[in-house]
């Protein structure tokens, strides 16, 4: 298997390649069908709309008080003995984490799943500084062995099937080739247990950070998150600034929405709530806990009432599971840390529209993502907003706004606008189009690659309606 570099700039070419790869399409189709069914079943006996309403309210309330809650979170954590750091961007966050590692002479870091660490390319940064960073979530571990990036925010290795995974483990770790999932899981377990024991630092993400109590909540099934945050002597948690919630009581509804939306589970195996480093008299757990709060573009999203909704996200992945585009092209095609619909509304802020201009158009606007979102983010509206931004018709808040604006297209729309607001000219134009239909070209760019060109009708709809009404009136007179 060759290592392929994906970038959002090449979305169209990557999508074309993915669509032509029956293995990718089969792997995603099977996985997404299963996830959609499980989600539907697990919400069966719930008042889902009321729960989503509550989830959205909790996140909106947290965002409405964001600066205050961040200060409260900092104070609560510090009172509990957790050291809090702030980073304006990914680079600064990487530097903070590297410096903590260096202050402990750390040679190896074990990682629990953290999308924000992917977003800031932490592993590469640490490796450059001579610090080994090893992923411990099984999916992340497989993806790292295969020198890839995750293709889904919840199931990082969803693009690989059993045979491919068997081959990766065989080539990279010397296990037997097999289709026995239990054997492969046990092999990874024993490989990683050695690494947990020897790791100097554990790095994890955070699902919810509770301002009221200074508690960091981690959601997981495997136990690698608990290992990462309990075994090494130092734990560094890294999170985006939007993950804060006000009260501890806000956590159960969000947790209920997260597990059910993500994988159709009533609950995950572990819900791990960390409020302090090891206290006097306790016998295990890290002696130092750090929290790194990362902005990296989030405070810009925060400025705008409409875009703000992007920050409600609890990273469940339901929008990608239900997206007809994601299911067909897979996660890597997007070339971003966050793929699928949420990625298409988040990545332009993190990376600028110059690089991500195709992503807001990677949607049929069918609305499925908005319908399943557990915190009711109006994703389709935000996709449309970013399309407007990319042609310079938004409010220009997004980095790279206007990148897709061309003089020709702008002039064409301006012309259409004039035509559509001048009925005389409109009628003349329409009737002309009908008369000159023979001159209509058969090839209309990519549109006609897979379709026949539209033929203007000889008579306009208006004329037909008028004729119909006239003949009806004539009949009634008789």
């Amino acid at each position: 298997m060759s290592v392929q570099i994906f970038t959002p700039r090449e979305f169209h070419r990557q999508a074309h390649d993915a669509l032509g790869d029956p293995q990718i399409r089969a792997n995603f189709r099977k996985a997404m069908d299963g996830l959609m069914t499980k989600r539907r079943e697990v919400f069966g006996d719930w008042d889902l709309e009321t729960l989503r309403e509550l989830g959205a309210n909790i996140r909106l309330r947290a965002l409405s008080k964001l600066p205050d809650l961040l200060e409260q979170l900092e104070a609560s954590c510090q009172a509990n003995g957790i050291k809090v750091h702030w980073a304006e961007d990914g680079e600064e966050a990487c530097r903070i984490i590297r410096e903590i590692c260096e202050s402990h002479d750390a040679g190896s870091v074990i990682k629990g799943k953290s999308m924000v660490s992917e977003e800031m390319h932490l592993n590469a940064h640490l490796e450059e500084a001579g610090i080994e960073a090893l992923e411990s979530d099984l999916g992340e571990y497989l993806v790292q062995l295969n020198e890839q990036t995750p293709s889904h925010i919840i199931m990082p290795a969803i693009h690989l099937n059993t045979d491919e995974i068997s081959e990766i483990l065989h080539v990279k770790t010397g296990t037997e080739r097999t289709r026995d999932v239990d054997y492969m899981t046990a092999a990874a377990r024993s490989q990683l247990r050695q690494r947990f024991m020897n790791a100097d630092v554990g790095v994890s993400g955070v699902n919810f950070a509770v301002a009221e109590t200074g508690t960091l909540c981690l959601v997981e099934n495997e136990g690698n998150g608990r290992m990462t945050t309990s075994v090494p002597p130092v734990h560094i948690a890294v999170t985006g600034i939007e993950k804060v919630v006000e009260h501890l009581r806000d956590v159960p509804p969000l947790y209920a929405l997260l597990t059910r939306s993500a994988t159709g589970q009533h609950v995950t195996t572990y819900f791990n709530m960390i409020s302090s480093p090891r206290k006097q008299g306790e016998h295990d757990g890290p002696r130092e806990v750090h929290l790194v709060l990362v902005d990296n573009g989030r405070s810009s999203i925060y400025q705008d009432d409409e875009l703000l909704d992007t920050l409600r996200c609890i990273r469940c992945g339901a929008c990608m599971n239900h997206c007809p585009v994601y299911t067909r092209v897979g996660g890597h095609t997007y070339g971003t840390t966050y793929p699928g619909p949420i990625g298409s509304i988040l990545s332009p802020h993190l990376m600028g529209l110059e690089d991500t201009k195709d992503l807001p158009t990677a949607s049929s606007l069918c609305g499925a993502c908005g319908e399943v979102c557990p915190v009711k983010i109006p994703i389709p509206d935000l996709l449309v907003r970013l399309r407007r931004e990319s042609v310079g018709e938004g409010r220009g808040n997004v980095p790279g706004a206007g990148v897709k604006r061309t003089r020709k297209e702008a002039a064409a729309w301006k012309g259409f606008q004039w035509l559509a607001t001048h009925p005389g000219a409109w009628r003349a134009g329409i009737s002309m189009a009908g008369k000159l239909k023979a001159l209509m070209p058969a090839k209309l760019g990519p549109w006609t690659d897979y379709r026949s060109a539209p033929k203007p009708a000889g008579t306009t709809l208006h004329a037909l309606v008028k004729r119909h009404q006239a003949s009806k009136a004539h009949e009634e007179e008789r």
């Binding site: 492969m184 572990y270 757990g285």
Partner: protein, 226 residues
Amino acid sequence: MSARDTILKRLRERTDGPLSAPESDFAVVTNRGWSAEERLSRFERLITSVHGEVIHAPREAWTDTLAKALADKGVRRLALGKEHPVAAEAREALADVGIELVDVDRDIEHWQREQFENVDAGLTSTQGGVAETGSLWLWPTPDEPRLISLVPPIHIAVLDADALEDTFFDVVESHGWADGMPTNALLISGPSKTADIEQTLAYGVHGPRELLVLVRHAGDAPGDKT
């Protein structure tokens, strides 16, 4: 200006102005109104659906059930606390059955490899359970540290049937969690699992391969279905 101050300033000086906070109605995550029997059957159904094992025992004779379960599973070295009544009673009952009892009131630095490689099972008490999701809740202590429910391949958790509550929200509210959180609070709902290899469920990926919940019943064990 520090990163902290820059970020906070940017958030405070929001272009579109201050935001208002909507009210939150938590009714949907509470007031299930289940009876004790419903709670127990729901808890058992959900935790067994994810490969948790449940056995029932009368309160007075629970250690007999424990001894039998340990023998069935071939546990030779059991890690457990000393002070919690669950640990104390277990120690007393298991003194002469040929199972080695491993002390856990030692700093992990001194016995990490032993814990990882040479302990068959960890026994812990639990603070209670959540019926809705089939979850146990634990607040590890110096007597019962956090790793003994994670590192050994089998976790045996002792739960009192009357410590089951309807929902996680109910637990957080009725036990005043917000008034003071421990170093680590945990919900555990089954043995460690993964579906990262083509959505195929596999158990025991990093944490315990088996979770055995021993439910103790006051008086006659109504749930003694074993």
